[in-house]
Symmetry: D2
Amino acid sequence: MRYFENITDRERAIFEAGITLGAIYHQFSGTPVSPETADEVARCIERAAELQPCVERAEVDIEVEENDTDNYGGYTEVSGRNLRVRLVTRCGDWEAVARLEFVEELNYPLMWIEEVRRVRD
Amino acid sequence: MRYFENITDRERAIFEAGITLGAIYHQFSGTPVSPETADEVARCIERAAELQPCVERAEVDIEVEENDTDNYGGYTEVSGRNLRVRLVTRCGDWEAVARLEFVEELNYPLMWIEEVRRVRD
Amino acid sequence: MRYFENITDRERAIFEAGITLGAIYHQFSGTPVSPETADEVARCIERAAELQPCVERAEVDIEVEENDTDNYGGYTEVSGRNLRVRLVTRCGDWEAVARLEFVEELNYPLMWIEEVRRVRD
Amino acid sequence: MRYFENITDRERAIFEAGITLGAIYHQFSGTPVSPETADEVARCIERAAELQPCVERAEVDIEVEENDTDNYGGYTEVSGRNLRVRLVTRCGDWEAVARLEFVEELNYPLMWIEEVRRVRD
């Protein structure tokens, strides 16, 4: 498509991975979640992410522990501290593997590219 | 709880229904969805809503039709036009039944109270 | 409007306050914010809230301190811990004053009704 | 930073542009807006985006017209149809210019890279 003539397939795989990680984080942060519902919410986020352009596969994990729900509401919410994502995007012959995870040493929910690789079916 | 001494149980059932309808709409609007994933996303919204204070039951329906996905991405998103919610809250002896639905004559995704009733277990 | 015949004006002022508090929390949680931008984001939330039905006035405060930005990104985000809202809704002769604030003893960002009062212009 | 050793500065400028476009869209879609408040909300989105890693400048426009508010609420909301973003990211010697805009022929709010260029201060 003419909109992507400025960049290579490898670069677009990286660009789309960025879009989808940013989308997941900002769409779902704040969603009420408990130990009992964490898996169902994670699957829902995967299904939503996999609809976005170039996304081949999304693996989402929401780590909620019992003591996270020690509060008036008895639940917690999806946040940069409990959300982990591994995403595979593909454009042409290129695949990017991207991650989102809270990195303690950075005190920050980092989004990064773990690997970019050429694939052939 | 002292925070709710200003209002009756009936009023609190109504208040909490409002909170949860507002929460659902603004948390999930924009979520990518397709005819294939609509049910899974609807269940996820129900699970999230049912964690909120006083919510007894949430029934969510996302009406996505094939032609809603006639676009470059091949999917659509949760919005005031396709989201329908029926919520039951309870506080003490009072239950409120609240709804969210796009009302054509208002051209607006209306949130309203369908019924408030006294219950006894 | 026939949709609100089931409830009184007083109840609707309470219902709409709930909607708008839930909306604010779930729309804006996750928004990047710093000590320098907190006021501008707070004003934006006020303007958005004041468009919603029956909302007369919204006062929003986002308390971001320098050490909240001690992380790789150098910023933090709007959350239940730093967001405070005071909202006035009106329906007919009734005004409700609603609040959102993190309550330490509940370890929870509570939404409650501070006052409901009859007003006359 | 070791997390970004897999990719070049040029690629990271592209990646971070993707993250921030995805973030803006999914954070702010659904925000109540009117012709009178559109500029203030746009400025708020710019301030939020400019806090994210590598973002040099964000230019946001929300095109709300009077007839968009012909509904019960008298306002509309930020969406893929009215939101336009131009973003400049920089990593090392590389700048990426990214855009978000509803493209009629695609019937889709497209995010793309308009230009990637080497810069020298």
